[in-house]
Amino acid sequence: MATFLTRRTLLASAAIAPMVGTASAADFDWKRFNGSQLRFMVSVHPWTEWAQKQLPALEAETGIKVNLEILYEDQLRQKLPLTLRSDPGAVDAFFTLPSWDGASFARARWYAPLEPLIASDLTAPDWDYSDFFPNILNIHRLNGQLLGVPISTEVQALFFNKAMLDAKGLAPPTTLDTLMAAAKALNDPAGNVAGFVTRGDGVQALYTFAPFLFAYGGRWLDDNGKPELAGAPFINALKYYSEILRAAGPPNVLGMQWKTTYPLFQQERAALFADAVNFLAYFRDPSQSRIVDKVGMVPVPAGPSGSHSTVIAWGPAIAASSKQQQAAWTAIQWLTSKRNMLAASLATTLPSSRKSVFSADAYVKAAPAGVIEIVQSQIPNAVPNGANPLVVQVPETRAAIGQAIIAALRGEDITKAANEAQKQVLAIING
């Protein structure tokens, strides 16, 4: 499958590498912007909750006072554009999820590029740009420019119920073929157990459908940003996704959102479950799960083109309209330092975007079993922002592609649905 790295991004990263680490870490002046007052607009997220608790320490070490405005995600998506548009300079930094708002914010030129700041003496030598997984940085690299700092690594996994697999003498499925066979073998409608469950709600299902699309060698958009939904990979993936869910999914899979899929797996009403690795926390929680000791994870299944998870990451970005970009960078840099990223991962259990966290003893001990392996092994092949086409109109595009997924799940003509999605998305992109 096509790599999402462009030549320009590679050159940009190569140019920065030698610049870091020239001065000694002890010389760095953290107090350079002492007395600055900043306004950050962020969403409710484990990381921002953690960050909020660090603000006193941030102020003590840098003299920068950050006013953290925490909004629910939906509210952030309405208030942030309004504020950036109507009151330039009011917000110095914000929380961004590039798969969702990256293309539109980049087009609006609301992000301040970070590489000039990273390459300057405003960045502590031990912040260590090269410590981030390059493919995770790619999530926040748009049009060749780094526009945010990813604070975690969200990949997907295939979860399995060990006891159910053992009972049938099955190995954890790692390919599309073995997954299909296992799902059908484990499906037991009479016993009220589904072989396999994942999202069946059109808009939401793009996320869980994406690894199947990538396994068939597909991608959402071609190199020119045109949709690629009428081709064989998309159609094959749609056929697979609908076949496995129609044959081995729960009876009500049509319209199922994640809030109704994971409880089935958690309550032993499904043998296999595909979604974000983060769901592991629900399965390991003895107060709500029946499968605490039975849950296992493997990478997303491999198809003709290999195994490719999506990878997405929230992260702070600096507003291009901010008058205090350098102070904002100092604060973000402090929050994303090696030491603090480790602390954040320990506090939130979110897999980090920094390599050093994965090898830190404290994290290795604290991380739930299997998480480090499943995340690290999938990072190189994961598709940054693969959760949906990286376009300006994400929600509308998701709805249009979601219609194709719904049509397939209802047993309608898949090629026709794919062509319709192609037509719709093209119309949406062309406005």
Partner: protein
């Protein structure tokens, strides 16, 4: 003593000077209403004539009636429109008879009536979003309690409720009815309490059966009350969004999407402020038109 008759009379003018005091006194209220009702409406009208994205710094672009022309061709909008009327019709057909029935029961004197009346309003005072989520869990075809209860009476393959394209709208209407029939019942209880007792006593003396008393006395006399309840429910049902958003998000696909939900998505999620405004304006016109029709229907009855 003053000779009144001799006092010069004021010349008789054909019209007395207009006294503007009532208008002046109501002016503040008028200004307030215009400010809070008129301005948003005018602004909505202005926005509906533009293409406007909040992302970036492009100013709104005037497109005339372009948004409305696009609406007519938008299948999703046309389907949502029809579906909204379907929601409203199903809602009325379920709410009014049920509400009146409950009111008739509650009108009778029986032990525990006050408690029943208090319990009656519980669904209404709960938050629709929270109740929607509770219903999603209860209706889950694998884990939900509804499946368990149906199984207990021998139904092994319960309906798929929210995942069944044919059942999703009736299911949502049922949840809406559970939530809002109590309001209809309350209105009807008030209406029943206000009915004069004499016609009923006369009917009893004449030997009318309970059914006859209901058919020829209660129902006609309750019509104005039912119209008020219908009007309130029609306004709410046409604007239905909360439980749909929470329970299905308009899905599967768009199969339970109402106009108001599409309006919300278009304006605030798809970043098409102008198009969303056009939808809002159409919805507003529909609500006003339906309300006027109901007011007109109510008149001869009263």
């Amino acid at each position: 003593m003053v000779d009144v008759a001799a006092a010069p009379r004021a010349p008789v003018t054909p019209r007395r000077r207009r006294d503007w005091t009532p208008e002046l006194l109501s002016l503040p209220a008028l200004v307030a209403i215009l400010a809070v009702m008129g301005f948003p409406l005018l602004y909505l009208g202005w926005m509906s004539l533009h293409r406007w994205s909040l992302v970036g710094f492009d100013p709104p672009r005037f497109v005339g009636l372009g948004n409305f022309a696009q609406l007519v061709q938008d299948e999703r909008f046309v389907e949502a429109l029809g579906r909204t009327f379907w929601f409203t019709a199903l809602g009325l057909v379920s709410n009014l008879p049920l509400g009146l029935g409950i009111a008739l029961l509650m009108h009778e004197r029986f032990p525990g009536r006050s408690l029943c009346r208090a319990l009656l309003i519980l669904p209404m005072v709960a938050t629709p979003a929270a109740m929607g989520l509770v219903w999603v869990i209860m209706l889950d075809p694998t884990l939900g309690i509804v499946r368990y209860l149906l199984g207990a009476i021998g139904i092994d393959h319960p309906p798929l409720w929210l995942s069944d394209p044919d059942l999703v709208v009736p299911t949502l209407v049922a949840v809406d009815a559970w939530m809002w029939t109590p309001m209809v019942a309350l209105i009807c209880i008030a209406g029943l309490a206000a009915l004069p007792p004499e016609p009923f006593e006369a009917a009893l003396v004449d030997g009318a059966s309970a059914l006859q008393r209901f058919r020829y006395l209660t129902l006609p006399m309750m019509l104005p009350t039912l119209m008020v309840a219908a009007m309130l429910r029609v306004m709410d049902l046409l604007k239905l969004i909360d439980i749909v958003y929470v329970m299905t998000g308009g899905g599967p696909g768009h199969l339970s999407e109402t106009i108001n939900l599409y309006n919300y998505l278009a304006a605030l999620s798809y970043d098409k402020i102008g198009y969303g405004s056009a939808i809002a304006l159409v919805l507003f016109a529909i609500v006003i038109a339906c309300t006027l029709v109901l007011i007109r229907l109510r008149r001869p009855a009263s």
